[in-house]
């Protein structure tokens, strides 16, 4: 199985996803074959090709600066796992 070039520990930190060592090892093994396919992409000459960010050639899609109805506070907070009065509540932030 091919070695994958991903530093899973670093990437999972960026993605705020706590993976167990077992998961990390399993993913590494599983994605190996995919990277064989991905390597084939590197061989193509795409120097003069523009990336497709959007398949549709739309431009300048706006909304007018008008106020539309907001959710009421109860609806906004209805799915909150924890709240305190008018606020969403989370554990503290330790930088």
């Amino acid at each position: 199985m091919a070695e994958i070039p991903i530093d899973i520990a670093h990437v999972s930190k960026l993605a705020r996803l706590a993976l167990t060592d077992r998961e990390a090892a399993a993913f590494s093994a599983q994605l190996g074959k995919l990277f064989d396919y991905i390597k084939e992409l590197q061989a193509l000459d795409v120097e003069h090709v523009h990336p497709t960010a959007q398949v549709i050639p739309l431009r300048n899609v706006f909304r007018d600066d008008v106020i539309t109805a907001s959710l009421d506070q109860a609806a906004a907070l209805a799915n909150a796992p924890d709240k305190d009065g008018a606020y969403f509540k989370t554990p503290r932030i330790l930088e």
Partner: protein
């Protein structure tokens, strides 16, 4: 008060290099990507919707007016509006981020270039101006972040349109930084794109500061100063940081590239906690939005819609209306003040007097009552009427000051205020003449002294006439009549 001279004197061997990054909340009615109200100070979590709460399945749609406001700002500052521009996602996690990515602009900002001209004549060039969305607000359950056990989050401000204005590192001192801010504030106020209230967070400033040997071209290690909540703190913090860096350099210590927070109370910057790892924002074009192609017809129309800008106004006030540069600066500082002044000048047909009043007594009264001009009940026509009363001699200059103070605090018709307070001035020549005769008669020595060439004696007699009339005599008329009587 920044002791610029002390800093400059001692820092003779180093020069400071400063760049400013401003975040400006735009005065659109609705948010950047949804129709929720863009209003400060509402009950928490009442100006929110699935889009600005980052709920599953929600999608952003660009607010046309936010784009217009940014482009007009750019045009006013001489920037180039990009014909092609797009939005990118800046990915990072934080509790006040509804999607854990911020929609911003990375490599195609809406404008590039431009400059802010300082009153000294120096131009500080801009790097770019781009559009992005603001985050929600975290409130820490404790006196400081470190003491909190929990965080409360309000998403009312999440999604408010933000304009980020980045200057080139061409500001050379704390004073220049304040001048830059002042000019920017004026332009933003004129365009009506921001209410520029740093204390409400609608205008935020981060400063990048470094020093280098005087005359060098290379940039030294910079620090980023955050938590600057007023124009004054910007100046103070920069001055402090320059000195701190200078002290480091002279002591042979390495200056660390870091983010530092300004502590207004203690007047120092201190390092902010470093993150565990540097952010990798993984910018990529937001696939939920399509790019902007602004055509030149639109851009020209926006240019035509620009109002007269501060620099032009100042110039016009001085050259066409005869104001002093100092007064012109003051009155042109923001649009409401400028418009107020222009209205008073127009109604009274006396721009210089209008300027004197507004820059002098009115300003002092406002400061005393802690009011903005726009918050005072005094209307332009009321001030214009007061100016007319003085011109007509109906009230003395001194009495008019008293009337002015009343108007600033309470508004009203100046004539009524004069009458209520018995401040009417006598310009009736015959009654003043009587006081003149009495004063001369009672002060023969002074009369003789004046005839003998002592100018001061005249003023003494004028004073006597004023006393006798209990301040009501028109002082210029009294003086004139005395002169005439005494030959």
């Amino acid at each position: 008060m920044i002791n610029e001279k002390a800093v400059a004197r001692e820092a003779g061997e180093f020069e400071a290099v400063i760049g400013l990054e401003m975040h400006v909340e735009l005065l659109t009615r609705s948010k950047m990507f949804c129709g929720c109200r863009n209003v400060f100070g509402c009950v928490p979590n009442t100006n929110v919707c699935p889009v600005c709460l980052g709920m599953p399945g929600s999608l952003p749609v660009i607010n046309r007016r936010a784009v217009e406001f940014l482009c007009k700002t750019g045009l006013a500052l001489g920037c180039d509006v990009a014909p092609y521009s797009k939005f990118d996602r800046k990915n990072y996690f934080y509790p006040d981020m509804p999607k854990n990515y911020q929609i911003s602009q990375y490599d195609t900002p809406l404008t590039r270039g431009g400059a802010i001209a300082l009153p000294s004549g120096k131009r500080v060039r801009l790097t770019r101006i781009h559009l992005e969305e603001d985050t929600g607000k975290n409130i820490h359950g404790g006196a400081t972040i470190a003491q909190s056990q929990y965080t409360l989050v309000d998403f009312n401000r999440a999604g408010v349109p933000l304009m980020e204005i980045v200057s080139e590192p061409e500001i050379a001192s704390a004073k220049e930084a304040e001048a830059y801010l002042g000019e920017l504030k004026a332009v933003l106020s004129y365009l009506g794109v921001s209410d520029v209230k740093m204390h409400e967070g609608s205008l935020r400033c981060d400063a990048n500061v470094s020093i280098r040997p005087a005359g060098s071209d290379e940039l030294g290690t910079k620090t980023e100063i955050k938590n600057l909540n007023s124009f004054r703190s910007v100046g103070r913090a920069i001055a402090y940081e320059i000195e701190r860096m200078r002290d480091c350099a002279l002591a042979g210590e390495r200056i660390v590239q870091e983010t530092r927070g300004w502590d207004e109370a203690s007047g120092v910057t201190h390092p902010m906690r470093s993150k565990e790892f540097a952010h990798d924002y993984r910018y990529f074009p937001d696939p939920d939005l399509v790019p902007l192609n602004l055509d030149s017809a639109t851009i020209e129309r926006w240019r035509d819609e620009l109002p007269e800008l501060p620099a032009a106004k100042r110039e016009r006030y001085v050259s066409a209306l005869g104001l002093t540069p100092y007064d012109a600066d003051l009155l042109a500082a923001d649009r409401p003040t400028a418009e107020y002044f222009e209205r008073v000048a127009e109604l009274s047909n006396a721009p210089k007097e209008a300027a004197n009043w507004l820059a002098g007594d009115v300003r002092r009264s406002l400061q005393k009552h802690r009011l903005d001009l726009s918050e005072s009940p005094m209307k332009p026509d009321q001030l214009a009427a007061l100016i007319a009363l003085v011109k007509d001699g109906a009230v003395s200059g001194k009495a008019a000051k008293e009337v002015c103070a009343v108007l600033v605090a309470e508004g009203g018709d100046p004539k009524t205020v004069v009458a209520e307070r018995g401040l009417a001035q006598t310009s009736d020549a015959s009654s003043i003449a009587r006081f003149v005769e009495e004063a001369i008669a009672a002060n023969a020595e002074s009369a003789a002294a004046y005839r003998g060439g002592k100018e001061k004696a005249l003023e003494f007699l004028v004073g006597q006439v004023m006393r006798a009339s209990r301040g009501k005599a028109n002082v210029e008329l009294a003086r004139a009549l005395l002169k005439e009587r005494l030959g």
